[in-house]
């Protein structure tokens, strides 16, 4: 019973705060709503007994990525750069975006299975510990994907360095 109530609370806050996040005029306020959403998503993971992912969710999304966003807000003057034109202005673009999201959503629903059949059973996780199971799976089964992902994250880092170098060479703009 408690689990249902908690889930209801988390789900409601996630939906509500993400709605508030995309409708606020003040970018700073929308960021704070999204922060609230990330924290509650951590709560959902906790309900699923996925405590490691819950903490990583909070550390990475709420603690690192959103702070980066805040930085961008601090360092640029958005009052001048944002005008009335909204990012997705044509109706085609909006339609396609909605369709893609719907497609992903349906894909997720179809791949959902009630009874999980595979090596990672509840018994195994209880015996081994959640974090250890994730670690072993990540660095054995999904090693290639992990490396590719790490490489992808390295590329923007190099890109930023290059932009900075070029700016320095051309004199500060």
């Amino acid at each position: 019973m408690l689990v249902q109530i908690l889930f209801g609370y988390f789900a409601f806050v996630i939906v509500f705060s993400s709605f508030m996040g995309i409708t606020r005029k003040n970018i700073f306020h929308s960021l704070l709503w999204i922060l609230l959403m990330f924290l509650h998503m951590g709560g959902i993971y906790l309900l699923l007994n996925a405590e490691f992912i819950a903490m990583v969710q909070i550390i990475v999304y709420a603690g690192a990525i959103l702070v980066m966003f805040l930085f961008v807000l601090f360092l640029f003057n958005f009052k001048e750069e944002i005008n009335e034109k909204i990012f997705l202005s044509s109706w085609q673009a909006r339609l396609y975006t909605v369709l893609i999201i719907l497609f992903i959503f349906i894909l997720g629903l179809l791949s959902y299975e009630q009874k999980y059949k595979g090596p990672y059973t509840i018994d195994l996780i209880e015996k081994q510990g959640h974090t250890k199971t994730i670690g072993i799976a990540l660095f054995n089964e999904y090693l290639l994907l992990l490396l590719v992902l790490g490489f992808m994250l390295l590329i923007p880092l190099i890109g930023v360095g290059l932009v900075h170098r070029r700016r320095q060479k051309n004199g500060n703009s």
């Binding site: 700073f28 704070l32 924290l39 903490m55 909070i58 550390i59 709420a62 702070v67 805040l70 974090t131």
Partner: protein, 332 residues
Amino acid sequence: MIELIIMFIKTAVVFGIVLAHVAYTTYAERKIIGRAQARMGPMEVGPHGLLQPIADFIKIFFKEDIVPMNAEKFIFQIAPLIILVFTMINLTVIPFERNFILADLNIGLLFILASASIAVYGIILAGWSSNSRYSFLGGIRSASQVLSYEIALGLSLAGVVLAAGSLSLRDIVIAQHNTALGIYAIPQIIGFIVFVISAFAETNRAPFDLPEAETELVAGYLTEYSAFRYALFFLAEYVAMYIMASLCALCFLGGWTIPKFITQILPFLEKVPGILWFAIKVYAFIFLYIWVRATLPRYRFDQLLNIGWKVLIPAGILNLLIVAFIKKFLAG
């Protein structure tokens, strides 16, 4: 039901003890810095100024709570609460003794890192919502500083986690006790140094107290705060110091245990309750905080970021690699 009440009492006791410690840490800080500068420190209130923290407390809570005219009122008011709540919450996962821990999470270390990363928002929001240039600059500085040093802190702790094979703070202490040296600070000396430096930067203390550098920013993100909201920030800063000190004691200095080779020579030391050892280690670290504040000048901001990114992070990675190498090839 009874369990819940016991839990509640335990929590209240821990929080009460920590708050009392915070009050007298301010006194100790003024005394020690006073001595370091050949002054007496507070002497007027009570014998040797011992009642000074209480007098300060009464004074600050009876002051007027001022909100600047163009500030974002709601955010301005909750920012100190955010930072205080997310620092105090860390106390629940810290094991003070073998069997005295409020919530024995098996990811205690990650929990502390997570709530530390949320507590940053308190500072950023305080800086932004006060609608003052000084506060704003202090907030930006603090954000970039904490963000940079969190990586180094995490890397130095990753070495400990790897060596102990667990994220639970209690298991880390037990695993540490079972090694030959009894503390991780000696085999992982690089990680220990990285941890200590980043702990200073994470809590915005001297010599990295740039977010509130008096000579440049008046008081940084605290500039517009007054009365008890200011006191809440102060409280959060000192509680964060205690959290970092406990983390250092638990992860590098053996927590409530003392190394086995010492108890072999002096067996009567085993009778000493573990919480005493823990307290001694924490006090030593707090003393280091104050000592450093009294002696070292403040760094420039670019120096601060250079130390973080070009020295501490590579050193943290090096430490992690060494630990991984030892674990794989030497320890079997």
